[in-house]
């Protein structure tokens, strides 16, 4: 199994519930009768923090758990490492069921599997930046020399070399959170938990940190669970998003799935404020190519393909569907009349081309006066499909309706 194997499950959460109060059984009974959070609170005085949460965390992914305040997202992330004791349910990480662990096993599990980044940084004010970064390793009893080394490395990763001897109070908010990040990275735990990690930062710094997190995450393939209340943030960093409301999962999926197919009104309202043209990618407007020509085809064959499909230009591909270029009906017609054997000399290269992840608003600007459809190719230049102007407009209009 490789790190990039998507089916490799790191954490499995099943039937996780949390009741705040002294009579959790009563509350869960009512929940099982189909009662919701406000009713349970009224009848028993117990707060149903989380109810029957199921989800998987895949190895190496960046999973965002999103919800408004009171949705239970902070409770959920704290249940994972038992900073909050779950009331019922299983959390299985590498075969260990966390709620069942003894005190000692739990400590060991936290040290090995979890490092955490906090909303308000939670740096130790009496320790230097360096000592803060070393903390996780210090707790584990790693010897001084090697923990100095790892801490230094992770400080470098977050761009803080040269600040080792400063105290947290001497740093700006953004830099403090970098220390928080370095502390989590140095620990080299298998899972990184980030609790509203960027919410306390101002918007510009926040964007920077998001970008850096994405880069770091891609580079290190560290399984990351990120909590946020901000949909824009969730969309720009998440591989997958889980949406929580009143302690229940409302929807989970890729950012695009959530945006284009909101599971209910709640999600739809959430999605409303997002600029869709920025989020939608070429993929969602992609149409299969109706016909392509081969470079070895003769002009008459190509003409036939074009007229069968009502095209006035056609993309030419090689043997393994690598895109070679485009030919226009006028050129092919002329070649046919001149009695040429193949169309290979007619291939032009001034056509628009993009990858499947290209944002929609970039695509719009790519249509040129010849109005060729945009060719969408993968990393190996193989033709995946085309995007026509109409499809882009259609997608944008559809997005605008939400």
């Amino acid at each position: 199994m490789t790190e990039t194997d998507e089916t490799n499950i790191k954490i499995q959460v099943r039937g996780l519930s949390k009741v705040f109060g002294s009579q959790p059984k009563k509350a869960l009974e009512l929940r099982n009768q189909g009662k919701k959070r406000p009713e349970i609170l009224e009848k028993t005085g117990q707060t149903l923090g989380l109810s029957n949460i199921d989800f998987d965390v895949r190895e190496g992914e960046l999973l965002v758990i999103m919800g408004l305040s009171g949705s239970g997202k902070s409770t959920l992330i704290r249940c994972l490492n038992r900073l909050i004791e779950p009331t019922e349910g299983d959390i299985v990480i590498d075969g260990q069921n966390i709620p069942k662990l003894s005190e000692k096993e739990l400590l060991e599990c936290r040290r090995r599997h979890f490092s955490m980044v906090f909303q308000n940084f939670a740096l130790f004010p009496h320790k230097t930046v360096q000592e803060n970064a070393e903390y996780g390793l210090e707790v584990r009893g790693v010897e001084k020399a090697s923990r100095v080394e790892s801490a230094r490395n992770s400080l470098k990763q977050v761009g803080l070399d040269g600040w080792e001897d400063a105290y947290p109070s001497q740093l700006s908010g953004g830099m403090q959170q970098r220390v928080g990040l370095a502390r989590a990275l140095a620990n080299d735990a298998t899972v990184m938990l980030m609790d509203e990690a960027f919410s306390a930062l101002d918007p510009l710094i926040r964007k920077d940190m998001q970008q850096e997190l994405i880069e770091l995450q891609h580079r290190m393939k560290k399984t990351t669970i990120f909590i946020t209340h901000d949909l824009d943030e969730a969309i720009s960093i998440g591989d997958r998003i889980i949406l929580l409301k009143d302690g229940e999962v409302v929807q989970s999926g890729t950012p695009e799935e959530i945006l284009t197919r909101p599971a209910d009104d709640y999600v739809a309202r959430f999605v409303e404020g997002v600029d869709m043209s920025r989020i939608l990618t070429a993929n969602s407007a992609l149409r299969p190519v109706r016909a392509t020509a081969r470079d070895s085809d003769g002009p008459r064959t190509v003409l036939r393909k074009m007229s069968d499909n009502g095209l006035d230009s056609i993309y030419v591909v090689g043997r393994d569907r690598t895109l070679m270029g485009i030919v226009s009906v006028d050129d092919v017609d002329a070649a046919a009349k001149a009695g040429k054997d193949t169309v290979s000399e007619l291939i032009q290269n001034d056509f628009p081309k993009a990858g499947p992840d290209e944002p929609m608003n970039n695509l719009f600007a790519m249509f040129n006066d010849k109005s060729y459809p945009i060719a969408i190719v993968d990393d190996n230049q193989r033709l995946l499909g085309v995007v026509v102007k109409g499809a882009v407009l259609e997608q944008l209009a559809e997005a605008g309706e939400h």
Binding site: M116, F124, E138, V139, Y167, N187
Partner: protein
Amino acid sequence: MAIDIPRIPLGGGIEDGLNFLTSHYSVVTRGISRVTQSGITVLNEGLMWLPEWALMAIIALICWRVANLRLGIGAVLGLALIWNLGLWDPMIETLTLVVIATVVAVVIAMPVGVLAAMSDRFYSVIMPVLDFMQTMPAFVYLIPAIPFFGIGSVSAIFATVIFSMPPAIRFTTLGIRQVPKDLIEAADAFGATRSQKLIKIQFPLSLSTVMAGINQTIMLALSMVVIAAMIGADGLGSEVWRAIQRLRPGDGFEAGIAVVILAMLLDRITQALRKPKKKTS
């Protein structure tokens, strides 16, 4: 027709209890007495062995290092006045009692304070006890001290420790409980054990508050060792006591001023220790 309610024999009960303790645990009390007495003697003689000017220089240097030059100069002037008034030896005796009583009080107070910070149940038990210890008139402690340890400095220390300990306990508890929850959560998240949290996080972060408690303890100890002259403790208190008995207000004030100078020096030094100099990079 008045109902005759019998008087509750509270005082009698306490006396019986104390008698029981003195008769059955005399081995313990005598042991404590001997150890304490030799501690007092050693420290006293050590401080007296130093020439006055040398001790003055040392104290002035400490003042200068932990606080500032002004306090150093103040220390020299104040101590010189005490020397001049012929109160040097009583001052040393008082200082000895304060130092020993404070050390004993702090050694007991720290673990108790930590325990009270960690356990809510222990907290709810210990707080009324501390209220009792602090509000009971100080003189009352002098009385049972005598059957335990006899007339003299050991009794004075016993009473002083009990009287001055509460703030050290309270501030230790307060300091540890004041450590921000999110820092404790961070330590927990990284898998810190209880003692790792205590030693590396809670204790360093509560140090300033704990020092404030120790400062209070020292001040209370000083006031108590003066009062303890009534049961035969040596020092500036006995100078005051003698002045009262002979109706000599001048002598009384001179000894009183010496107490004030000593109090101010101890207070300023411990205050300065509380605020460690800002480390700058």
